[in-house]
């Protein structure tokens, strides 16, 4: 277990450093890092501190958030398909963020944007949990997810299409696919407080989720208060997913792929899966964000494109496995 933690942390550290030193301008790694830490003359310190550092930090924070939220939801619903992106939580958060921007709420006060996204994500999680029921049977979960995703996406597109601003309509792809391009430290400070609250909340779920693997009755017999667990899950997920989506759009599949890959490595214990998925999610988003800068740097590829390219085949694999189990 500690070996896994070490390996994952090392991976995240390497990817974080790579993210800091990757960019369109030709500068050496050494001068990049000295400009970051020591400052100096010329434009490089500005590039490092105002452009690359926030991008790397956001990759780390958002990846950890999505991984953690995915692992927590999967643990609670005992269903490997529960994922913030797939079941519409990210989509509802995006709707909240778009509403905040286009009603002027985001411009009116600083935290307007993340709080609106938080409200959107909260509504999304609540709806999914209500519609899917506490057991989260696959079919109801997926149907609820499809309904909420479609509704959120349609309303987001509607708001953007109705905007008087000609750029708004082209932003649909950002809100559906996510991107970390040209974010600033402002965005880091907007998202961080909410994320910390969410991380703390979700991290406390470990014991309850472990107990839940024995079934709800057993968990209650062990002194787990299910309503409270459920509330913490809803609020925690809404905080992390809302904050992540507000600044980077809806990045899908991270919360699906990462817990799925790491589950065998942690002995399928939900409590261990929580921190492992947080690290794994950070690694995945950092890697995807590196890839969009290396593969087609001039095209501003969206992050969700890459995570979906990795995630969709895995999804098919899950279906295949489920069918084999049912047969």
């Amino acid at each position: 277990m500690s070996r896994l933690a070490l390996a994952l942390s090392a991976l995240v550290a390497v990817l974080f450093a790579a993210s800091l030193t990757t960019g369109p301008s030709d500068t050496s790694t050494l001068s990049d890092l000295s400009a970051l830490f020591l400052g100096g003359d010329g434009p490089l310190p500005l590039v490092m501190r105002e452009i690359r550092l926030p991008r790397a930090l956001l990759g780390l924070m958002i990846g950890a958030s999505l991984g953690l939220a995915g692992a927590a939801m999967q643990g609670y619903l005992r269903n490997p398909l529960a994922e913030p992106g797939l079941i519409g939580v990210s989509g509802s958060a995006a709707l909240g963020a778009v509403l905040a921007i286009h009603t002027g709420l985001a411009a009116a006060f600083t935290l307007g944007l993340p709080l609106a996204a938080l409200a959107g994500a909260g509504t999304g999680v609540l709806l999914v949990l209500m519609l899917a029921g506490p057991r989260g049977a696959s079919i109801t979960l997926i149907l609820a997810g499809i309904a909420i995703s479609a509704l959120a996406a349609a309303l987001t597109s509607l708001v953007l299409n109705l905007s008087p601003n000609p750029y708004a309509a082209s932003e649909i792809v950002f809100w559906m696919m996510g991107s970390l391009a040209d974010r600033s430290m402002t965005h880091v400070w907007l998202a961080l407080p909410l994320m910390v609250v969410g991380w703390v909340g979700l991290a406390t779920l470990g014991r309850g989720l472990d107990a839940l693997t024995l079934g709800e009755d057993a968990a209650e017999a062990m002194g787990i208060r299910l309503t409270r667990l459920r509330l913490t899950l809803v609020v925690g997920t809404a905080f992390v997913v809302g904050a992540a989506t507000a600044v980077a759009g809806a990045i899908g599949f991270v919360g699906l792929v990462v817990p799925h890959l790491l589950r065998p490595l942690v002995g399928a214990r939900p409590s261990r899966l929580l921190w492992a998925s947080a690290l794994g999610g950070a690694a995945m988003v950092l890697a995807a964000d590196l890839a969009v800068r290396l593969v087609l740097p001039e095209r501003d590829l969206k992050l969700g494109v890459l995570t979906a390219l990795v995630g969709a085949p895995l999804f098919l694999h899950l279906i295949y496995k489920t069918r084999a189990e049912m047969a």
């Binding site: 601003n165 708004a168 932003e171 040209d182 600033s184």
Partner: protein
């Protein structure tokens, strides 16, 4: 095998139709001047308004009346506005429809099928193209004399503006979403006519594309040209308030432009050239 033969026959048939179409087009080009002209593209709107005889142009597109897109929004208020849909255009009973090369092909196809004459205008990618578009519009409207006069005026004013060129400071166009215009674009030609070098073209951009903020900050151009904010908020425009861009603006000249003059190949591009020339002369050491 049969499929191949069939396909090649279809292609030759298609080619025959295309040729026939071309012949009709040249024939109609010789027609007397059209009397009811409808324009469904922002750029043809403006060219037509500049060149048409009174009463000849009966409708322009809705964008022509939008001050954020059109350099002739006031003039456009005197015309009936259309949304560029085939049905409403047909009901206006025009004898000529002028459209852009990239106007929705479904609309163009429909208009041609119902027997309307449609002339398409290619996008102007340079100041030379602009002269040609003016000439083309004058030709299809049967207003060649007016066209020649407008082109002569254009040439004279351009020559006058170019004579003021000094050394060549670097300018960068940075629009929402980090969009920039490199070589082979009208904007690039406008910059060069005003005596600037275009940063995006120097970095190897051709046509439109995104300029990473990082590259812009590293290159530190002498003049930063960005679009004026549009009504209604958008995430795309947020990048123009990025702290790194603010820091860059402190050290150098910035220009917030309203872009209508830059969009279309019309004589209005010279207003853009003129504004830029003034901006260049106001630069600390750029003018001389």
């Amino acid at each position: 095998m049969w499929g191949c033969v069939r396909l090649s026959r279809l292609i030759s048939l298609g080619a025959a139709f295309a040729l026939a179409g071309a012949v009709t087009a040249t024939e109609t080009g010789a027609d007397p001047a059209p009397r009811r002209v409808v324009s469904i593209n922002l750029c043809t709107d403006q060219l037509a308004m500049l060149l048409a005889a009174p009463g000849q142009l009966i409708s322009v597109s809705d964008l022509a009346a939008d001050p954020h897109s059109s350099a002739m929004a006031d003039a456009a208020r005197g015309y009936r506005v259309n949304q560029g849909r085939a049905e409403e255009v047909y009901l206006l009973a025009p004898d000529l429809v002028v459209a852009g090369a990239y106007t929705d092909p479904a609309t163009i196809g429909m208009l041609r099928r119902v027997g309307l004459r449609v002339e398409q205008f290619d996008t102007a990618k340079s100041l030379t193209d602009t002269r040609e578009r003016i000439a083309q519009m004058a030709r299809v409207l049967g207003r060649d004399d007016e066209g020649t006069a407008l082109i002569a005026e254009f040439d004279a004013r351009l020559a006058e503006l170019k004579a003021k060129a000094g050394n060549h400071p670097r300018a960068a166009l940075y629009h929402p979403n980090g969009y920039t215009l490199g070589g082979g674009t009208l904007a690039d030609d406008i910059l060069r006519a005003a005596g600037f070098r275009n940063l995006a073209a120097e970095l190897g951009h051709r046509g439109g594309g995104t300029l990473p903020l990082e590259q812009l900050v590293m290159a530190a151009p002498d003049l930063l040209i960005s679009a004026a904010p549009l009504p209604g908020a958008s995430r795309s425009e947020a990048v123009l308030g990025h702290p790194a861009l603010d820091a860059l603006r402190k050290g150098r000249a910035g220009l917030r432009i309203t872009s209508p003059d830059w969009i279309c190949g019309t004589p209005h591009v010279l207003n853009a050239v003129e504004r830029l020339t003034d901006a260049r002369r106001a630069l600390p050491e750029g003018g001389q």
